[in-house]
Symmetry: C2
Subunit: 117 residues, 2 copies
């Protein structure tokens, strides 16, 4: 399923992890690279090339929070792309849900949320 979502997101030049980061930082001005890594289970060290790529694509900016930490924020371009990513992921989730018999359908997301941490 992740491979399928990845294919759909690749049409707007994004990977699944990119969209995950973008959704995580959307609307917030204080999320650091390390925090993103902790939430998404990505090592601090591996966040660097990931964010470098998003920055080079003009999707995110690094804004100093203090002299040590950097906030990762969506640029205007990033926000436009995220809007498209949300349409794609919503369509993907709709397609998945359609395959589930109606009596089970409303239980999947709550059940998965309960498993999350």
């Amino acid at each position: 399923m992740m491979a399928e979502l990845g294919e759909r997101l690749s049409k707007i030049g994004l990977r699944v992890v990119d969209a995950s980061v973008m959704m995580l930082i959307d609307g917030r001005a204080d999320v650091t690279s390390s925090e993103i890594g902790r939430v998404l289970d990505i090592q601090r060290a591996n966040m660097v090339p990931l964010l470098n790529r998003l920055e080079a694509a003009g999707i995110i900016d690094r804004v100093a929070l203090d002299r040590k930490s950097m906030a990762i924020v969506l640029s205007a371009t990033g926000q436009d792309l995220l809007a498209k990513a949300r349409i794609i992921t919503a369509g993907f989730e709709r397609d998945l849900m359609a395959r589930i018999p109606t009596e089970h359908r409303p239980h999947l997301v709550p059940a998965l949320n309960a498993l999350w941490r």
Copy 2:
């Protein structure tokens, strides 16, 4: 969750993919390397080192089906290990289920099964 399962299986020297292969071929005498790869989304070429490792560990045997295809079968050692792997995975699934509120619990597996292919 897969990382957690991997840790538990590592106590008997197995990876998640090893247990997956073992469960897939258990009780069958006609499953080829290519078939395993198709079911588990693993390329034919990448099955080779995987099965070489399982064979070196004495878990599986390669048995000629004809002069071209090889059946991958569990050895006696492999069957013993699989019994242990089933205990571990059953415990893992029990622990996961316990985290889901009872009203959603019976719906998760049927919902996931509906998503499978």
